[in-house]
Amino acid sequence: MSDIDQYRIEQEPFYQVQHDEISLYQAAYDERLPVMIKGPTGCGKSRFVEYMAWKLNRPLITVACNDDMTASDLVGRFLLDSNGTRWLDGPLTTAARIGAICYLDEVVEARQDTTVVIHPLTDHRRTLPLDKKGELVAAHPDFQLVISYNPGYQSLMKDLKQSTKQRFSAMTFDYPDTALEAEIVSKETNSPLDVAMRLVRVAKTARNLKGHGLDEGISTRLLAYAARLINRGVQPQAACRMALVDPITDDADIRSTLNHAIDAVFN
């Protein structure tokens, strides 16, 4: 069972609490309720789940969902080896067996016929039928399912069905307020608080443009990138252009405006 150890989180991940999310998640876990985490990209969702897994001392199995994923990628499949066939559990089944937290990241990317596979695990049954094997796996008492997704720029085609949505309890995340976000960036990257504060101000100007040409404002993750570049000696303006402006837009007017904002914030 040394496989399980690869999923354990040994070191405490840095997470800055914003409101009461830790206690809310704790309560949900105590009830083994499935949790849906919503929020824009780069605001701390995956980090939060990592932190909670560490805190609760559970292994964490993360699956990055994509359009090409089939049900067997989640549940498991038969493999061929020299002796014939053998069954290999997928990540969902493994988590259910060992009592880990299974975290499906960007679950909306997966096709809907794949997503319904999780339904039996998320209601009172807490079982996972393995049709190909003919086995009914009963989930470990410590098992919990967590999913994340970015509302906002999913098309009508790609959205969770109501029957899936209503099996989860949801927590909404957003970018933290200015002082807190600066602290997070500063601690995460070991950079001075003043620099982090200025970066957050630049991010705020971009977030004001959401819906007016930008799909999404600048995320905390990008701020961390910029801070790390500045730590390496890159000029602040250049670091911001590389990490904050160029990744998010190609529109000339928006880039001009954001570049001006960077010049205005960094003297």
Binding site: D68, T70, S72, R77, L79, L80, D81, S82, R201, T205, A206, N208, L209, H212, G213, D253, I254, S256, T257, L258, H260, A261, D263, A264, V265, F266, N267
Partner: protein, 750 residues
């Protein structure tokens, strides 16, 4: 060194002109001339003045010449002396003598702006050329007897225009006016006095500097991003108002910004706009209005300046980079520039203080100034400070530093105006209407609009001769087509019900379906042979096979947007040879069938009709909108189709394209039903509108819209081919539709 009496008399004799008024100024003029010109130059100077006197237009021109020319000659060379006098002589040979004084008055400004003798030569040549081309005579080819209708207006405007345009730009502007209005004296006058809309539009086009119109979106984004404000901008022009130079300001109707900003030093035009907007946004966020009635004008000016500095200070807490921008644009007057014994230095003092508050590296030594800078900084250190507090500071500053000379009418203005600051009218509330300051304009009630039409949209028109667009040339009015009885259309459809069925079948086959293949399915409609084979190989070799050996298809749905544009001009009322119905009736039938069938082709389908009555009234009548269904209301409008007026096709195509562009569809189709030649009653040149329609069709191509013409006249004109190239078909009987339509759609989906 002043001239002796003898010398003066000698010179005076050389100037063969007997007006008494000359004697009064002759001494001063000669003194200046002798110091600035060479001896030969002085001779040319006097000869030139004599020539102008001889022309017989009175003393004014001579006086202008005597006063202005020494300076012009000094700057640009002494050849200008004879250049100018010869030009005046030439003007006097024409019936345009009245323009001579005006011409001479423009010279000072022209020489300043143009800066070289060559350009001044070209300038004079241009004026003379203009004069020749616009002066005319009624009978025969003799020299002109009627003066130019617009020369004087042009000359009056020239100094201002030279300020805004380069010489090339000025040339283009003049050429445009001459090309279009040579034969219309009234419109010519309007154009060259900058009163007509297109003359202003052309001038705008030729201007240099950062135009507001080109950067509107950037400024919008700037306000949203940095200041979280959604503002309406209203550009004003400094080119047209010569008497009062407008300043930027804001009120509840929006922010007034200049329509063009030149670069200033290292600061680009767009950054000057941003500096202005930052200042305005700062006011909006932090300034509370103050009751003005108890303050004197000087106190108010000081309060405004202090408040400007305060809100800028607050803004720089958020965006420190603004300091560099504002400092570069702020004037930095020298400490001793103003002499308090002879002029009012109040503006100068305030400008210095304002600069000191903004930029710590000022070099001023005045003790009052330094003290108030310190007190201001102290106030800024407090957590919260208000407009009122800084007003008190301003008043004590005025009380401390006022001088007797402040009240003098002679106010020192140089270097005291801060171009990026607004005029602060928003700061003041008045309880009583005073009589010393300016009255704000009374709200004028807008007259209720009489017409039920929407205001017109303006479209440019392509002038093939000058190969440019005429901006805002055509006014297009949209409206809803009046309705008739839907039964007429229903009858048409039943009459041709066989055709209708045929068309439907054709369309079903022709629908360009996007078939998207979805591979790597564990379950699907067919076997994907490639994957199946490789899986089998894997099994045989003992590796893990990929179970996703199937694939399926799904259709991507409808993705065509169609716009049907109908020519509703007078020529539709005729019956062509060999036909039994008018073209209008044929058109109606064709549209009824097409409409019914295209409804099956794609969801996005609209119909509109156009006709025109000169360029000022192009009518565009909606018959069916994209969101409407092919129902009785639409049929009723179609039934009421009437033909009349002319065909100005280009504008209608552009307008239809405007609607089509907004649709989200992979393929966009503009079908135009016409009987041929675009023409209009106000255009003598037959080719012009044909070329314009052709240009409009080319623009369609650039917008990814497929333009296709359905020509209803069996004796189709060649010009349809000119306009649409290969993309047209002739349909003279409705029965031809099923045959011809597939051609269209095959070429569309290729």
């Amino acid at each position: 060194m002043s001239l002796s009496e003898d010398d003066l008399r000698g010179y005076r004799k050389r100037l063969t002109c007997n007006f008494k008024q000359i004697d009064q100024v002759f001494g001063d003029c000669m003194n200046q001339a002798v110091t600035t010109l060479s001896p030969k130059g002085v001779e040319d100077y006097l000869d030139g003045a004599s020539l102008i006197c001889m022309v017989g237009r009175g003393v004014e021109p001579v006086l202008s010449y005597l006063e202005e020319m020494p300076e012009v000659a000094r700057k640009l060379g002494e050849e200008t002396l004879t250049l100018v006098s010869q030009s005046v002589w030439k003007i006097s040979r024409s019936p345009n003598g009245k323009a001579i004084p005006v011409f001479l008055q423009t010279l000072a400004e022209a020489s300043r702006r143009l800066g070289s003798r060559e350009l001044l030569e070209r300038y004079c040549a241009k004026v003379l050329e203009f004069m020749e081309r616009t002066s005319s005579s009624i009978h025969g080819n003799q020299s002109a007897t009627i003066p130019s209708p617009s020369l004087i207006e042009l000359l009056q405007r020239l100094p201002g225009l030279l300020h805004e345009l380069s010489f090339e730009g000025l040339n283009n502007w003049i050429e445009y006016g001459l090309a279009n209005y040579l034969h219309h004296p009234g419109r010519q006058r309007d154009y060259f006095s900058l009163q007509s809309a297109d003359s202003r539009a052309i001038m705008q086009r030729e201007r240099h500097g950062t135009l507001y119109a080109d950067h509107e979106r950037k400024l919008d984004l700037y306000m949203k991003a940095l200041w979280q404000k959604d503002e309406l901008f209203v550009p004003y022009s400094r080119a047209f108002d010569q008497l009062r130079k407008p300043a930027p300001y804001f009120d509840d109707r929006g922010i007034r910004v200049p329509d063009v900003y030149e670069d200033k030093g290292s600061i680009s035009g767009i950054d000057r706009y941003r500096a202005l907007l930052a200042h305005v946004a700062a006011h909006k966020r932090w300034t509370t209005p103050v009751i003005a009635d108890n303050y004197s004008p000087f106190q108010r000016v000081a309060i405004e300046m202090f408040e400007d500095s305060r809100v800028e200070y607050l803004a720089m807490q958020f965006y420190p980079g603004l300091r560099r921008l504002w400092t570069a644009l702020h004037p930095a007057p020298g400490e001793d520039d103003c002499d308090p014994s002879i002029e009012s230095c109040i503006r100068h003092r305030l400008a210095m203080l304002s600069y000191a508050l903004l930029c710590a590296e000022h070099n001023y030594r005045n003790s009052d100034l330094l003290e108030f800078v310190a007190r201001f900084r102290q106030l800024m250190q407090q957590q919260k400070h208000t407009t009122k507090q800084v007003a008190d500071l301003a008043i004590s500053y005025i009380a401390r530093t006022r001088r007797q000379a402040d009240l003098s009418a002679n106010i020192y203005f140089a270097d005291t105006e801060v171009s990026y600051r607004d005029d602060n009218r928003h700061m003041w509330r008045f309880i009583e209407q005073g009589d010393e300051e300016e009255m704000f304009e009374e709200e004028r009630k807008a007259e209720a609009e009489e017409s039920d039409r929407l205001p017109p949209r303006h479209y440019p028109e392509w002038d093939y001769k000058s190969r440019t667009y005429r901006p805002d040339w055509v006014s297009l009015y949209e409206s809803l087509h009046p309705s008739g009885s839907a039964a007429i259309i229903d009858r048409l459809l039943t009459k041709h019900h066989v055709l209708v069925k045929q068309l439907k079948q054709i369309f079903d086959l022709l629908k360009p379906q996007q078939c998207v293949r979805v591979r790597y399915q564990e379950e699907g409609s067919e076997l994907d042979l490639d994957v199946a084979i490789s899986s089998l190989i894997d099994i045989r070799s003992g590796a893990r096979p990929d179970p996703r050996i199937n694939m399926s298809h799904h259709r991507d749905g409808r993705d065509i947007a169609v716009m049907l544009l109908l020519d509703l001009s007078e020529s539709l009322n005729r019956v062509p040879d060999g036909c039994s119905q008018t073209i209008l009736e044929l058109s109606q039938e064709a549209v009824a069938l097409l409409g019914y069938a295209v409804e099956h082709l794609g969801d996005e389908f609209a119909i509109a009709g156009f006709s025109s009555n000169t360029r000022h009234e192009v009518r565009y009548q909606h018959i069916k909108g994209y969101s409407e269904h092919w129902d009785d209301m639409v049929k009723a409008r179609l039934a009421a189709m009437q033909a009349g007026y002319s065909t100005r096709m280009g504008a209608a195509i552009r307008h239809a394209a405007h609607y089509l562009e907004a649709r989200r569809a992979d393929k966009k189709l503009l079908l135009i039903l016409t009987d041929g030649e675009p023409h209009d009653i106000d255009e003598q040149d037959g080719r012009l509108l044909i070329e314009d329609a052709r240009k409009a069709v080319q623009e369609l191509h650039r917008q990814d819209i497929y333009g296709f013409c359905v020509n209803l006249d069996p004796q189709a004109d060649d010009c349809v081919e000119d306009i649409f190239g290969k993309r047209f078909t002739v349909i003279d009987r409705v029965e031809r539709l099923p045959q011809k339509l597939p051609e269209l759609f095959f070429s569309l989906t290729r």
